[in-house]
Amino acid sequence: MVEQLAPPNEEHIWQLLEGVSDPEVPVLSILDLGIVRAVRVEGEDVHVTITPTYSGCPAMNVIATEIRLLLLAEGITKLHIHNQLSPAWTTDWMSQAGRRKLEEYGIAPPVDGTATGHMLNLFGKDTAVRCPLCKSDNTHMVSQFGSTACKAHYQCDDCLEPFDYFKCHA
């Protein structure tokens, strides 16, 4: 006998999605990152809307597959994943819990209000970013572009360790 599963409900799906992590930053769930924009249930059909962090983020396909597998295990077969570009993702959507987890993991969380909005601010002062390892503010940016599209490359001038900074994207 196949056990009859309860019809899907939105709240339950949101809880399940907490279990899907970003493959490039595994301490963060996709909810921490703020990339799940909507969950909608219409009868047996489930619609999940996600938004990419960066246009070329290679994690998006993996995330979509993981959502599909997870919900399939819950008996949800009529799943529709929508990719929404607008409004564009911003680090403002990252949860406070997510920011804490990032720092504990060794990645400095985004400092609000520091997005590169001023293209003429050349050689401007770097964002003051706290070292996630020794907590010193005495750090400098090595490169605006880091190990993944969403991170910049920093170095601490006290403990001398290099670290990733999840750059502000507002």
Binding site: M60, H82, S86, S143
Partner: protein, 268 residues
């Protein structure tokens, strides 16, 4: 690039209107331009002058590739003939590509890549700002997403133009040579093709004269800081947007399309 049927583009729900259908060649041109520039930048991967700049170019390449995918997906939908984003990228020949000549030019040395990038970034950033508030919802959504990334690109390339121009004797010589080599391809960016002219009338393609002014102002400001001269009276080459390319594009596509041409339909 891989086809992913689980993630349709945002605007799949409604069939394209007649006005939108006319957008196809323009969206394809945007897609080709971002893809070709992404490919050029990706050629640096593992060859950058220092690790951090190698990473920067790979990152920027990825942004352009992502942007290209969004345009190709939308173009495929507008065309409505069952071609996928991959078909459009991998199975069209050089004469069918619509990118302007600038982006297909070989990398040259680091200064050559920086000058090409800086000029394109100046155009790209201002173009995206216009598209973002344009009448087509999907183009506006793609532009809204990409302009945030373009803001990082233009800052990076401008700082390098200044470092190289106002740097050592050798860096200055190389960047001046790059400007001399590439300047002839800068006019095409803001010279509308027949396709673009028709769409400009309908408001889908922004006013290039206004973009040119913003570009020129930005270039002048950065070149001044770099102690470089803006060339004057240069004869401008064009043709890429009509499918007449320099000989470099064919070689690029031979590499880019090799796998799909050799093993049609191959997936991984």
């Amino acid at each position: 690039m891989m086809t992913d049927s689980t993630m349709p583009a945002q605007a799949t729900a409604a069939a394209p209107s007649e006005a939108q259908a006319q957008l196809f060649p323009f969206v394809l041109q945007l897609a080709d331009t971002s893809l070709i520039l992404a490919h050029r930048l990706s050629e640096w991967c593992g060859h950058g002058p220092i690790l951090e700049q190698d990473l920067a170019m790979a990152n920027i390449a990825l942004d352009f590739l992502g942007e290209a995918r969004s345009y190709y997906q939308y173009a495929a939908e507008l065309e409505g003939k069952g071609r996928s984003e991959d078909d459009l990228a991998y199975l069209r020949s050089a004469v069918e590509y619509r990118n302007p000549l600038l982006v297909e030019q070989p990398n040259g040395d680091f200064a050559g890549t920086i000058v090409r990038q800086f000029i394109y970034d100046c155009f790209h950033y201002h173009l995206l700002l216009q598209l973002k508030s344009g009448p087509d919802a999907q183009l506006a959504a793609i532009a809204e997403k990409s302009v945030k990334e373009a803001a990082y690109h233009i800052k990076w390339s401008a700082e390098w133009v200044i470092r190289l121009g106002d740097g050592t004797e050798e860096s200055r010589r190389r960047v001046e040579k790059a400007i001399e080599n590439l300047w002839r391809y800068t006019g095409e960016l803001t010279t509308p093709s027949a396709t673009e002219q028709a769409l400009q009338a309908a408001g889908f393609v922004p006013d290039y004269a206004a973009i040119r002014e913003q570009m020129d102002a930005h270039i002048a400001r950065v070149f001044e800081e770099a102690t470089l001269a803006v060339p004057v009276g240069v004869f401008m080459q064009k043709g890429g947007k009509d499918g007449r390319h320099t000989e470099h594009l064919g070689y690029l596509l031979a590499e880019l399309q090799y796998m799909q041409r050799t093993y049609p339909g191959l997936q991984w």
